[in-house]
Symmetry: C2
Subunit: 118 residues, 2 copies
DNA sequence: CTGTATCCTAGCTGATACTG
DNA sequence: CAGTATCAGCTAGGATACAG
């Protein structure tokens, strides 16, 4: 059963149900793309920047920071020159895999219904 | 396996994978709340407006329209005075139920990790 | 290589009033 | 009852330049 009416709060934002909270986690233009990337495994900052077409330094850094603060992404710094930073999903982040896979299935289903339904 | 790099297009917006497309469907401040409501069953406009705390006419109408255009919500008008309009999920929309339920579970898990993790 | 800091804009969102 | 119209504010996102 799907709940509602209860008010959840996090970082000053309010949510009417846990689902809103979850969705707010990967709302943001690049969050899902980043998560997709990291579902493939550990990645360096530069790799992400190269793989994710169109993203800017600012947005990549910012969205990574938000994912990190949410406890979804772990940031590993190797002190060296030049610096090396690796990002990977936390256990919590890995828990998103089934959702992401289901979203992918549903997205494909959605696409095909678009061509036959309108 | 999670795909990427392929470009999907819909309504002029571009997506790098089906997941982005899916997420874009229920991104929007009230979309998930509306979907939650309709997962409980058919609802009238006034019911939604009453149940969803804080939403305005404009946003409710607008988000419902977008969900309708995406083929997630069906709008049934009963010609009468005063008018009566019912909204319900389409088959495609019902397909979101497992996602919503998983998001709820994950959201709760997320909450508890917030209190023990930081 | 891995970021910050600034500045700027489009578009989402809300308040309010009006309508069939 | 179930919307639409208009206007205004905020904020997410992008371009660009700078930095450790």
């Amino acid at each position: 059963m799907v709940m509602n009416q209860t008010i959840y709060e996090m970082n000053g934002k309010q949510f009417q149900c846990p689902i809103e909270l979850s969705v707010s986690i990967f709302s943001g233009k690049w969050k899902t793309t980043i998560i997709c990337q990291l579902l493939e495994g550990k990645k360096r900052y530069g790799e992400l920047n190269k793989n994710i077409v169109g993203i800017t330094h600012k947005m990549l850094a910012q969205q990574l920071r938000e994912l990190e603060e949410a406890g979804i992404v772990h940031r590993q710094v190797y002190p060296a020159t030049p610096p090396k930073v690796e990002y990977k999903l936390t256990v919590l982040g890995e828990g998103l895999r089934p959702i992401v896979e289901y979203l992918q299935e549903w997205g494909k289903h959605f696409e095909s219904s678009m061509s036959t339904d309108p």
